[in-house]
């Protein structure tokens, strides 16, 4: 009898079930419950009574508040259109032309990813601001124009990367067939190239729009009197302690992400199937006119980004820009009042913790979802949870965490104000991309590895550590790097969650800028850029080494 029960338990794969339930429980606590707290706040009045839609009515009846909705849509739309066009052309130049310096162009396009959005804005201040290098142009940086410019810088790398992936592989046969029919270059572009990327265009559009719509850094520095939702939410919560109105704005911030989620569901799956094993590589033909045009475009974008960096260097390394241009390192001696160098080390600590715990969480979760059979219902629930974070902007996560974790009755209240809450919010905020990376890597592994190991009586954890982990190492490193870099630059969620005891560098930059220590802000930005570039280099070297080792294993010596 006892034997029979034990057998049943073995068959249930108890250990796996426990792990899966734990992961899902953690996910629920840090994702679902805070969101619930946020939504309930939006429908309560200040006394905490249910108030229906009255908060929303108040919001839309107050012109000074509701104008932000239109402002946000306006700047997001314009910057998205610019980014989509620019990103496409840039990716096209790097994949379908014969311009020189492609690697240089590719890596400089990624520069904005390595810095907080606040820093883009500060760079712009140095260039177009009242005392900027190009102030003679008379452009009014503060307000709509500045925000748009900054959002373009922020969203361009995302647009470029997505288009790059879509354009990188082309089926040469289609172009050869078109050539053999004597079809003109423009028609070829319209009828072959454009259909290849049309779903990517939709995706890129929504990704950029959502990013711009929910960004806090750029409008914080450049907004002036031009209000957008992300700055409103901050003013409502941190300025006026109007939590209910903050929650209302928070739910509004969700709209584009939810919309893109729905459209994404509709569009996904239609994008594949154009490239098959029979596809041949596309050989790009010579065209001097085309290459000159695209080279000029790439050079312009690259130089702009380099100028942004140069401006930061100039600000950080001169005594008192623009009046005293002698070299100095004194701006790296940060004022204690705005965070000091401690904030930098705090950021490093937080980012490392996020990367370590996040990578483990993401990879184990993806493994449980991909490589276990049975647990149908639990896995369905897991699938739903894992699709959620992509729709959540950092500001919303930050706000919902305040509502949930700051409540005195919450037994998890103790993590409030510590590094832990920042790490958890980062993992949730940046969950989606690593999740896709991990799932993709695991899908590529033979699904029979587990079966073979089980037939040999090898325990599952051993197969996981000896087979799945080593074979997914490049993906694991990518996830680690992604989480680290993004944690270094994050502002949105952290702005609600940092405490006076634990301030991080990106927040410190914003405080330095507020206090007028813009040179120190530039100096701190450079430190962030430095560590992120180092991390990226480390990652690239590691992946190269792994590849080399794998090639050694393939080389025949027999």
């Amino acid at each position: 009898m006892l034997n029979k029960i034990r057998r049943r338990l073995q068959n249930l794969r108890l250990a796996q079930a426990i792990i899966l339930v734990c992961i899902l429980a953690v996910f629920t606590i840090v994702l679902v419950l805070p969101m619930f707290a946020l939504f309930s706040k939006a429908f309560l009045n200040k006394a905490g009574e249910f108030d229906g839609l009255s908060n929303y009515l108040t919001y839309f009846r107050t012109p000074s508040l509701s104008v932000s909705v239109w402002n946000t849509i306006d700047v997001s739309l314009v910057s998205t259109v610019v980014s989509v066009i620019l990103g496409f052309l840039y990716a096209y130049a790097l994949t379908r032309t014969r311009i020189p310096l492609k690697p240089v162009f590719k890596y400089t396009a990624l520069i904005p990813i390595f810095m907080p959005t606040i820093v883009h804005a500060i760079g712009l201040v140095y260039i177009f601001g009242r005392q900027g290098v190009l102030s003679g142009l008379g452009l009014e940086l503060y307000g709509r124009f500045g925000i748009i410019l900054s959002e373009v810088i922020f969203t361009f790398p995302q647009a470029f990367l997505m288009f790059y992936v879509a354009l990188e592989f082309a089926d040469g046969r289609l172009y050869e067939a078109a050539d053999s029919m004597g079809i003109s270059a423009i028609r070829k572009f319209m009828r072959v190239t454009v259909p290849e990327v049309r779903y990517t265009v939709v995706n890129v559009f929504f990704v950029c729009f959502t990013l711009a719509f929910t960004d806090f850094g750029a409008p914080k520095v450049l907004g002036g009197s031009y209000n957008v939702l992300a700055t409103d939410i901050y003013k409502q919560v941190a300025g006026q302690f109007n939590m209910n109105m903050g929650a209302v704005v928070g739910t509004l911030l969700l709209i584009p992400a939810v919309l893109s989620f729905i459209v994404g569901r509709f569009v996904s799956g239609k994008n594949s199937g154009t490239i098959s094993a029979k596809s041949t590589n596309l050989s790009v033909k010579k065209s001097r006119k085309r290459d000159v045009l695209f080279f000029a475009l790439c050079a312009f974008v690259t130089l702009s980004f380099l100028a942004l960096i140069a401006a930061l260097f100039m600000g950080a390394l001169t005594t008192y820009y623009p009046y005293d241009l002698t070299f100095t390192l004194k701006h790296f001696a940060f004022n204690k009042s705005t965070g000091g160098i401690t904030s930098y080390f705090n950021s490093l600590t937080m980012s490392l913790l996020t990367a370590v715990f996040g990578t483990v969480f993401v990879f184990v979760f993806a493994y449980m979802m991909e490589k276990t059979n049975s647990f149908g219902l639990l896995k369905k629930f897991g699938g739903m949870l894992s699709a959620l974070p992509i729709a959540l902007p950092g500001m919303v996560i930050g706000l919902s965490f305040i509502f949930f974790f700051n409540s005195k009755s919450n037994p998890l209240h103790f993590i409030y104000g510590t590094v832990a809450i920042l790490v958890v919010s980062n993992i949730i905020h940046y969950f989606s991309v690593p999740h896709i990376t991990a799932t993709g890597a695991l899908k590529k592994l033979d699904k029979e590895y587990e079966s073979v190991a089980e037939s040999m009586n090898v325990p599952r954890w051993k197969t996981f550590l000896r087979v799945s982990v080593p074979l997914s190492l490049p993906a694991i490193l990518e996830i680690f790097m992604y989480l680290f870099v993004n944690s270094m630059v994050t502002v949105s969620a952290a702005v609600f969650l940092y405490s006076a005891h634990f301030k991080i560098a990106s927040i410190a930059i914003s405080h330095m800028e507020e206090a007028g220590d813009i040179a120190q802000a530039a100096a701190m930005s450079l430190l962030i850029l430095l560590v992120n570039v180092l991390m990226r280099l480390l990652y690239e070297t590691a992946v190269k080494l792994i590849k080399k080792k794998a090639e050694m294993k393939e080389k025949n010596y027999g």
């Binding site: 049943r8 029979e448 037939s455």
Partner: protein, 328 residues
């Protein structure tokens, strides 16, 4: 009591029936092929026997012990998959050792000796320090086999083990697998969709179609006495002749041929000839306009100077006629 008894297994995937009441018995030391077209449920059956999949109902009894609720790790079988599923980050020796190290109460030296022994058996000893991707498909296949037999399993399960290989390598490996299986005397179940593989290797064949077993028998029984129209049609080529709700059938190579009338029973017209090397296939038409296929040695066809529209005389001897109960 058989060494392995599969009793009334059923399995649904959503609305689709993968297995509908499948039963079979396998004796100790036998090599049994489960043969059927893709999607007939044969791989699902193998996975249920292995414990990698659970059945909706039915029992799997191994050597008298009901194993239905046992996980795969408790069933003591070795398995080889179509993809081989070799661990690419381990050497050939490492792949074999990975399972052996789990064994309790044996020293490291004993484990190594065992690994070397199986690698010698599959003739891969000299490649033991290479990685899977450095080997040819056939060598990888043998590595998977070595890994599967290293733990001295009671059962060896082979899931389409040869279908990823070139035709020539496949024929060579058939013999090798059979030889190793005989040497070890390990009870083996092999899933395949290749009838030639099944006919040449198996002691007994289980023919499956549409989630059910059509026939179980020796290769000769299956070929010469097919129990259902499906079996007759799926294995080899068969001429069917329907009359009064009954079906008679005869293999093309069992039809005798002559160029003039006499003792021969049926006249037919040649519609088309297909030269296949050693043999020639004749596409004929009977007087009642039914089609008939005849295989003759190419030499015979040449001697008889057969060509399109020529008349031939056929003998369908009773000993070769197969009566099939059901009608297709």
């Amino acid at each position: 009591m058989s060494f392995l008894e599969v009793k009334n297994i059923t399995k649904q995937f959503g609305r689709q029936t993968a297995l509908g009441d499948v039963s079979l018995n396998i004796e100790r030391g036998e090599l049994v092929c489960i043969l059927g077209p893709s999607g007939c449920g044969k791989t699902t059956l193998l996975r249920i026997i292995a414990g990698l999949e659970t059945s909706d109902s039915g029992r799997v009894v191994m050597n008298g012990i009901d194993c239905t609720d046992f996980p795969a790790s408790k069933r003591n079988f070795g398995i080889v998959f179509q993809s081989y599923a070799l661990f690419p980050n381990m050497t050939i020796l490492g792949n074999v050792l990975f399972g052996l190290y789990q064994k309790k109460g044996v020293t490291k030296d004993e484990v190594r000796i065992k690994a070397i022994e199986v690698l010698r058996m599959v003739d891969l000893l000299e490649h033991k320090d290479k990685y899977p991707r450095q080997l040819s498909g056939g060598q990888q296949q043998r590595t998977a086999l070595a890994r599967a037999i290293a733990l001295s399993p009671d059962y060896l399960l082979l899931d389409e083990p040869l279908s990823a290989l070139d035709a020539k390598v496949r024929v060579k490996l058939r013999g090798e697998i059979r030889k190793i299986q005989r040497t070890l005397g390990v009870t083996t179940i092999m899933v395949t969709h290749d009838q030639e593989e099944a006919l040449t290797m198996a002691d007994r064949i289980v023919v499956m179609n549409n989630a059910t077993v059509e026939q179980i028998g020796t290769p000769r029984e299956i070929y010469n006495r097919p129990a259902t129209p499906f079996v007759a049609d799926f294995i080899g080529t068969m001429n069917f002749y329907r009359k009064d709700g009954k079906t008679d059938a005869i293999r093309p190579e069992n039809i005798k041929l002559a160029d003039r009338s006499g003792v021969y029973d049926v006249t037919a017209r040649v519609k088309n000839l297909e030269f296949k090397g050693a043999s020639t296939r004749i596409y004929g038409v009977l007087p009642d306009l039914d089609d008939i296929l005849i295989d003759v040695p190419s030499e015979t066809a040449d001697e008889m100077r057969l060509c399109e529209d020529s008349t031939m005389f056929l003998r369908l001897s009773a000993e070769h006629l197969v009566h099939i109960p059901a009608v297709i």
